[in-house]
Symmetry: C2
Subunit: 426 residues, 2 copies
Amino acid sequence: MRKFGVAILGLGVVGGGTYEILTEKREFFKKTQGVDITVECVLEKNKDRALSLGIDEARIATSIEEVVTNPNVDCVVEVIGGIEPAKTFVTKALKSGKSVVTSNKELFAKYWHELEAEAKAKDVGLYFEASCVGGVPIIRTLQEGMQANDIKSIKGIINGTTNYILTNMESRGLSYEDALKEGQKLGYAEFNPTADVEGFDSTYKLSILSSLAFNTKIYFENVYREGITNIDKEDIAQGKKMGYTLKLLGIGKKTASGIEVRVHPTFVPSDSMLASVSDSFNAVLLEGDSVGEILLYGRGAGALPTGSAIVSDVIFAARHQTNYYSCFNNTLKGASKTKIVSDFNSKYYISLSVKDAPGVLNKISGAFSKYNVSLKEVSQVSASENEAKIVVTTHSCLESAVKKTLDKLSKLEEVFAVKGCIRIED
Amino acid sequence: MRKFGVAILGLGVVGGGTYEILTEKREFFKKTQGVDITVECVLEKNKDRALSLGIDEARIATSIEEVVTNPNVDCVVEVIGGIEPAKTFVTKALKSGKSVVTSNKELFAKYWHELEAEAKAKDVGLYFEASCVGGVPIIRTLQEGMQANDIKSIKGIINGTTNYILTNMESRGLSYEDALKEGQKLGYAEFNPTADVEGFDSTYKLSILSSLAFNTKIYFENVYREGITNIDKEDIAQGKKMGYTLKLLGIGKKTASGIEVRVHPTFVPSDSMLASVSDSFNAVLLEGDSVGEILLYGRGAGALPTGSAIVSDVIFAARHQTNYYSCFNNTLKGASKTKIVSDFNSKYYISLSVKDAPGVLNKISGAFSKYNVSLKEVSQVSASENEAKIVVTTHSCLESAVKKTLDKLSKLEEVFAVKGCIRIED
């Protein structure tokens, strides 16, 4: 039976989950996969953490050099997170001829091209299923299940924290702040939630997924980003009445004028599959020209779900002899040649606080028509004393035109405030 | 660039779709997959069909021998369907050292063990992604994405015809007969619909999927089967009122006493992901011990979706050098050692037509309690003259106990008829 030795760098939540799966299921994998996978060593500063997992002291490495010179190690699993020391460690592993499996989306979004060049030079494997959407095999699906397709679009709920917050804002009428606080208490949100709620985490993942989907390098800096911190629960409630559910979507689209890649709060129809993805669950909807729509749904984070993706990569590396790399030009120069559409088309939901007086609606719709923004619906949804709340939905129109319209609106005397501006995807 | 030659056996709907994808996307695959895939020849009795697809006469083979002795053919795609001549052709291809890709669920459900033995003897690949759930990469997910998991259950809507019929019975109140007729008119149902509506098609797929999921041979004859031909639209409407949607589910479960594999009409909660899978769409829900629940959704049939799965296998075969086979004992003897639970536990929905008289409800509930079937709810849902309709839901109980209860009930003078008996999965 083939033997396959693994080193784990970092024993945090995901590292611990990975260690647990690999050791508890060694016999199971021998039986079901025909491979004998052993954890040869771990690298973890906190020795007590390693000992508490039952790891023999002899297997706790004290330096990356010890790991990468260990002849029994075939594959290095990096689950430290962040850029350094992860980047240095992974590079050393690749240079030493070890395959690498990583869950590190930030490292991958920023330095995939550098790491792949190192892997190629040594003809070793580089696997990253766990970097996107946790336990859901989305990378494998893109690489090994959708190859027949020219992929037209990818739309995903690819961040569990924000989905937890938005779900609870809708179902229980919580404010953003209260939903965030609760998420932090329950472990769904970090103490410093910026990477999640401002959409950075989603842009990392979307850049990786859309590069694979569209077979062209899309650097994370080219992904349009808008977080959920300014979302008002009133707009969520109003959207619900109109048949929409709010999600933070990562959207990639191949259009005649180039590729759109954007992360922003988005209203989707309440009866759609994506709308039914609640709490911290994730889902990705892919549209291929042959297969049509495919949806993958599951847990996007957590020790065991992410461990599941890492171990899947380890087994893939152990069973397949081939190491293959991106077919697109995976360099920053390659990224600069990818045509990104920055002024994209979308439908919009816009809510305004206005003076409750005759002729106001007319003035507002005038501002839209000035910039060729075609309206689908305009309605007054509430009124109190002198103030009225107006909600407008538009047909598909250019981002830039909506921006100009909002500028114009906010300067009108009759408009107290533009309260919400949310894109709609049908 | 690696060259990879393909032969297509059969140019029906799926064969035509496969041919179209492979030829129209030859340059696309060179660019995105780094492989040059060519259709070297086709085998199709109807020469006009082949010519109408634009296939050069020189590439239309006249016998299977011509195909399997062609040195440019690396991989034979079988899309004839049925047992013969498909079985003979596939066997000849394997014996000649060609890899095989097939969409043939019946052939695979019945003779997978024989074909795998042939493939092993020659160390060639045998791929069958297209045999289950069309374009949805469920086989790849089980083999290459869920390896870290001890899979606890699989629940799937794996037949598009029946899902089309049930969806339209629910949403539009059609009778089974009318929904079937419409499905036939629109091409969702065959002229002879038996294989679909009686659940045979689903048992083929479930036997393949659950063998992979539970890593043990499950022969299709061991799958419990119940079709949808006796479903009354009134029970669907009543279930809807109670928060359930009716689906023909393929269910596989690993329990302490063995493996349950069954295909039957099933009420699922209307707010569940499976309930939202409508018309001819398919979906499979997998539960792994590490990853938790994963759902895959998409088109289960059609020229291009199924072609997408076939071409995915062709590319997988072209890119990976390794051929590997089932880790379980893939023989009929192996199947005989798999412990199948035949008297399984389930919750039930039962509808009865009874005499509208005092004491009847008491007599009915007495029959249930005689066989230890614990009731969750009993309610009279309608009444006309002397007849009343009673609906009963049960807690989880043994199949055999329900059978005995229904026997007993049907003998009661007060019971005119057992109208419906449908299992519930929460």
